[in-house]
């Protein structure tokens, strides 16, 4: 099975406090730690496991700046066979539709049976898989937490729905699935693994290589644009307990007792 996994380099929210810069045009990017989008690690792990079971190859692809190459390398260290870097300044400022347009062009250059994305990335859209599938006219399922390969024409996929219930469907290949966390336990990549792929060539493709009209993507093609970041007017917010730890604990215990929080 030929599997393509879409990955994105994002600021790591468990390593950083994300803050807005002075003029609200962007988040504060100094000293940000980046990593691969959490959901994408599960997608890669799933792809590697499927390949190891039924054969084939896993390709990782990203649309992103020079820096993004490091996430392709990381996923190759996990066990992906090939990387593909879609890199062009014409891609800057793309909205979700733009990124999907670029990825679609890359998909059409290959011969993939299964395309995986993460269910969600840093801007909380969860749109890429569904858009890509619709553009390709492939079947799609989101929030997938189980994949069973039936044969080279069909799979069984489970979607995680409300309450942790699972909706099972049979789907024709090729198809696109967005992967939910928890579907597997992504393997750990050590320094040695990263070193092994440090010098592997990763091909880059530009808008020209992909046959994409520059004005259909990037800022020019975007219908949806972020205007600014701002601090919302908050409601009351929490009553913050302050003082020494002992004082805080004393106050907290008083409150918990009053509210029935200590039996």
């Amino acid at each position: 099975m030929e599997i393509l996994v879409c990955v994105k380099r994002v600021p790591d929210t468990s390593e950083n406090e994300i803050e807005i810069n002075k003029d609200g045009s962007d988040i504060e990017r100094d000293d940000l730690v980046y990593s691969v989008n959490e959901w994408d690690n599960y997608a890669i792990e799933e792809a590697i496991q499927i390949r190891d079971n039924v054969g084939g190859a896993v390709t990782v692809v990203t649309v992103g700046d020079e820096e993004s190459e490091e996430v392709l390398r990381r996923e190759m260290a996990m066990g992906a066979d090939n990387g593909l870097h879609l890199l062009d300044s014409a891609f800057d400022g793309s909205d979700g539709r733009g990124i999907a347009t670029i990825l679609k062009a890359a998909v059409e250059k290959g011969n993939y049976d299964l395309i995986l994305t993460g269910a969600l990335a840093d801007d909380g859209a969860g749109q890429m898989g569904g858009m890509l599938a619709a553009m390709l006219d492939y079947p799609y399922a989101s929030l997938v937490n189980k994949i069973e390969v039936i044969d080279d024409k069909k799979i069984k996929a489970g979607r995680e729905i409300e309450g942790g219930n699972q909706e099972m469907s049979e789907m024709d290949l090729p198809c696109v699935l967005s992967i939910q966390t928890g579907i597997n336990e992504p393997r750990y990549v050590g320094i040695r693994g990263i070193r092994k792929v440090a010098s592997v060539e990763i091909p880059t493709l530009t808008a020209g290589d992909l046959g994409i009209a520059p004005e259909s993507v990037g800022d020019a093609g975007a219908k949806v644009k972020r205007m600014d970041y701002f601090m919302p007017e908050m409601g009351e917010g929490a009553e913050m307990l302050e003082g020494s730890t002992d004082e805080i604990i004393e106050k907290l215990i008083e409150m918990l007792k009053a509210k029935g929080g200590i039996k």
């Binding site: 569904g130 599938a133 492939y138 979607r159 469907s169 024709d172 949806v224 917010g237 929490a238 215990i253």
Partner: protein, 318 residues
């Protein structure tokens, strides 16, 4: 005047809570909008929904809601340039991005609020980085838009006695049979050894606990106060606790008297599982964590240090 549609989901013959929220969202986009609900389902649901919408378009079927099939039907019946509101839940996430592509309209996910339409652009408020920052987004609606609305972001307006009519659009919807994605069954979530939906006191732990071994301090606190341990999703993903202890939209809906969120950031998917307005205490080392916006009481502290001290004091007191 924008023509706005709201896709109304339903379960077990009852319209989803989002039905009443989406009308309010539509009025926030355009106070003069005529809002039409679309219901793929039975007459009973259509009649229920008609109470709060000017008009209901019915696509009659009692098949399982397969997003692929419903997308085709919507593309067949929706006028060009319409604004379509859909709840940002697991069905909306499945349906909407592809629908926008097929309608060739813009897509905005997880909208929390609207600031009206100006020069053909809809101004939307949404969040990024798991709720840590808020943004204004401009959405070009010249060719219409599909907008997913965050569940619970708009207060439902129960007073609207719109009393609309039901229009049967089934004939225009096209072939409703499943093709490339075929529904098989729904597998119910496993039940665990503790039913956290019945607990009065929940000591809930999130990714801030850092390591499985550290869960001991959470268990100790729960024991000291006489509560049960629940958690956020990453703890279940890591297999540190069983799925039945997960609070949130893809986990359990709980109604405790007291909820302590320890090292939990406060994502809407997590908060969506907490009902009944409990006394909410948040302990987080980041003073800007979104959970402090919704908690009753907050403590900025490292849970690895704070929780054992709290446990000790609670035990001493007893």
């Amino acid at each position: 005047m924008a023509q706005i549609f709201a896709y109304v989901a339903h379960k077990a013959g009852k319209a989803d809570d989002s039905a009443l929220e989406l009308t309010v969202a539509a009025k926030k986009i355009d106070p003069n909008a005529s809002v039409t609900a679309i219901v793929v389902g039975s007459d009973a649901v259509c009649n229920e929904v008609a109470a709060s919408y000017n008009e209901v378009w019915k696509i009659g079927t009692d098949a399982y809601p397969n997003a692929e099939v419903i997308r085709k039907a919507l593309v067949n019946i929706l006028p060009k340039e319409s604004i379509v509101l859909i709840s940002h839940d697991t069905f909306g996430m499945d349906l909407s991005p592809g629908l926008s592509v097929k309608l060739d309209s813009a897509f905005v996910a997880d909208a929390m609020d609207f600031e009206g339409i100006e020069d053909g652009k809809l101004k939307v408020i949404r969040q990024e980085y798991a709720g840590m920052v808020t943004t204004h987004v401009s959405c070009d609606i010249a060719n219409g838009a599909v907008v997913n609305v965050r569940p619970g972001a708009f207060q439902p307006d129960e007073s609207t006695g719109a009393g609309g009519s039901v229009v049967d659009k089934t004939g225009d919807a096209g072939d409703l049979s499943e093709t490339t994605r075929r529904f098989l069954e729904v597998v119910e979530a496993e039940v665990g050894d503790v039913d956290i939906t019945k607990s009065d006191i929940l000591i809930s732990v999130g990714r801030g606990i850092e390591d499985q071994d550290n869960l001991e301090i959470i268990n100790d606190l729960a024991k000291a106060v006489g509560g049960d341990v629940s958690c956020s999703r990453p703890i279940v993903d890591a297999k540190w606790l069983e799925k039945a202890r997960q609070v949130g939209t893809s986990g359990q809906t709980v109604k405790p008297k007291v909820y302590m969120a320890l090292g939990i950031s406060g994502s809407f998917q997590h908060m969506g599982g907490i009902k009944g307005n409990p006394f909410l205490v948040a302990v987080n080392k980041n003073a800007k964590a979104p959970i402090f916006q919704v908690a009753d009481v907050g403590v900025v502290a490292d849970i690895l240090e704070f929780v054992p001290e709290l446990t000790e004091k609670v035990s001493e007191m007893k």
